[in-house]
Amino acid sequence: MTSKYSRFDKPARAENIFLQGARVVDPRHGTDQVMNLHIRDGVLQPTTNDAPTGAEIIDLRGHWITPGWFDLHVHLREPGKEVAETIATGCMAAMNGGFTGIACMPNTNPPLDNAASVNWVRDQARPFPVDVHIIAAVTRGRAGKELVDMTEIVEAGVRAFSDDGSPVKSSAVLANAVQYANMLGARIFEHAEDTYLAEGGSMNESEWSTRLGISGMPTIAEAIDVARCVLISEFTGGAIHICHVSARESVELIREAKRKGIKITGEVCPHHLLLTDEACKTFDTNFKMNPPLRGEADRQACWDAFLDGTLEVYCTDHAPHSWEDKTQEFDVAPFGIVGLETSLSLALTHFLSKGMSLPTLLDRAVYSPREILSQPQPRVAVGEPANLTIIDPAHRWTVKPDEFKSLSHNTPYGGWELTGRARGVVHRGMALIQTF
């Protein structure tokens, strides 16, 4: 059975809906109670016991409603690799995963390194209840040499710059970028990697790379760049966000930097919290990503840092690749896995049971990412625009990559049994509410 709220390609207007009986959790604004939400034209109305006349009633007893989740690290492949993902399919994947906001990386072809392309991407995303924030390239063409026209791009609404996919190799360019962005109230997102140390590698350098005969990328390839970022941030006073932290040494450097008051933030992906490099032993390319899956000590360090807020952002590094590209020899296949449609469920299944509270999880998945992008926080309160993620915390399901809304199915979680799933999102005056 499909309702008018279950179409991913054409989300319905949230004209007059009554979300009944869900637990509404908005920790930063002191809300945690079972209540009804009435939304008219996308705006939260005063709470009533009974549905106002004409409102469509959606029974959400046993569900949770939180402010909309945000994924700070997503790759949409358009322009350039539309066979793997488009802005539209990326938005649909985000909706299916319970996200009302994503930030997409600029390593498309051509790269997003100017205001026009930033605006173009945002236009493509307009039909969906998903805010697509663009992280623009740091350097023209991501070539690592000249800074992009930062002021113009910031005027177009961008608050972050990154050459992700690669680090900014030159420390001089990075230092200048950080200073210049700081002047504009923006920050640099660094893909931390010493490319010389990681050169030729396809997985973590470890006992497992040795056993499998796969060239390794040592943890210090990441940590050395983190150290460089810490020093540059301290020296320039500008903020740097470290992408997809995976190594114990990186965590230690970030924790120490924060203790000193240096403006370093960090993010972590579910795969670095849940998997280790041993997973590569079947040569399945769905376990090949960059930074790679690390050892158990690294995984544990990332988890501890995620719990204590050293790594304050939960993101996926959603990296779609076509079946053809991933179905190759391990060392030949590209790095990356999709993440949007499993992220929330993995968190509910594996993090809450391991001692993370729901408010802390929402801090990492709702508030911190927006804070880092200098965006206003969504708030579940009367008169506010509805920006909501609807979650069925008890729904048990099996990950079937073929059912993803993403064009790509490169996930290491196929067949995983998860408990808890996004049932929908309400945002930008639109609603998507699935029936399972």
């Binding site: 470890s206 006992e207 040795t210 056993r211 499998l212 020899e329 391990f330």
Partner: protein
């Protein structure tokens, strides 16, 4: 057979025992049996190796299999075809066994997921080279009767060596001790987890080992900055008669070939009475016959 990692000691024992029967065939005046008549084997060598390919080809012919050689140069792969398409094309030709050499670690595992055929790994990158491991074990077993308690030192570029990896896995399973010896930059991270000892002193290895398996050193490792020069390598890790004379008993010398004489091994060592390098070559054919027979024997004509 994707790698020795998947095999038990008992299975390795069976392969080595079967190899002895196969070697008997090689020593007959008529060196051919009809065992694999009607079985088609493709030698898919996507990385050049005349030696291993010849050895497999001979083993296949001795068992009367139909063989087909497919090499990297001139193949569709050099024209941009994916390995999967190449493999599916081969499969569509209805072959039984694919013997595969490829530079990517895990490529035979990849192929095995997509093909019905029996896959035999003839070397995947720096991962494994199981038949080489087996022939080295057979050669040592010939000499010592058993591998249990034997101490074997692998000398040289352990990091890039599939031969080292299959030797370590196989020898450890058969109860031998393994020492790896080489410059620190050529010893891969975490190898001690495989139950081997590490030494950077060739003299130390020579003092303690019963046999030395000397690995080929490649010049490009030097230009990659992994060691200073071939001259320095030879001085500290080259196996010479003078160094060997420090041992209390003569060491058995193995080398998987091709040798860089005067670099990792000197000629007086390679050609000495303790060298079993040529026995290794003979055993290579016997071991490959055994593997083909054990894996594909069931696919042969019933009359054979």
């Amino acid at each position: 057979m994707l790698g020795l990692a998947d095999y038990s000691a008992a299975e390795i024992q069976t392969i080595l025992d079967t190899s002895l029967q196969m070697r008997d065939i090689l020593n007959r005046p008529v060196k051919k049996v009809p065992t694999l008549r009607g079985v088609t084997v493709v030698n898919l060598f996507l990385e050049n190796s005349t030696r291993t390919r010849t050895s497999f080809e001979l083993a296949e012919k001795r068992l009367s299999a139909d063989t087909l050689n497919f090499s990297a140069s001139g193949s569709a792969l050099s024209k941009g075809e994916t390995m999967l398409d190449t493999a599916l094309n081969i499969e569509a030709m209805k072959v039984d066994v694919v013997v595969m050499r490829h530079k990517s670690p895990g490529s035979p595992h990849f192929l095995a997921r997509h093909l019905e055929s029996i896959i035999i790994n003839a070397g995947d990158g720096r991962h494994e080279h199981p038949t080489q491991g087996l022939l080295d074990m057979l050669t040592l077993r010939d000499k010592y009767g058993s591998l249990k308690g034997l101490r074997v030192a692998l000398v040289g570029d352990i990091l890039h060596s599939r031969v080292a990896m299959s030797n370590i896995i196989g020898l450890k399973k058969m109860g031998a001790e393994v020492i790896v010896c080489g410059p620190s930059t050529l010893i891969p991270r975490g190898i001690e987890s495989m139950g081997v000892e590490i030494t950077h002193s060739l003299d130390d290895a020579i003092r303690r080992a019963d046999a030395l398996n000397i690995l080929r050193i490649q010049l490009e490792r030097q230009t990659a900055g992994l060691f200073p020069s071939l001259r320095e390598y030879h001085k500290y890790f080259g196996v010479t008669r003078a160094r060997l004379e420090q041992a209390s008993a003569p060491l058995t010398i193995l080398h998987p070939g091709p040798m860089n004489r005067g670099v990792e091994i000197t000629s007086d060592v390679a050609d000495s009475e303790h060298s079993v390098i040529l026995q290794q070559v003979t055993n290579g054919v016997a071991v490959r016959m055994a593997v083909l027979y054990l894996l594909a024997g069931g696919r042969a004509e019933p009359s054979a």
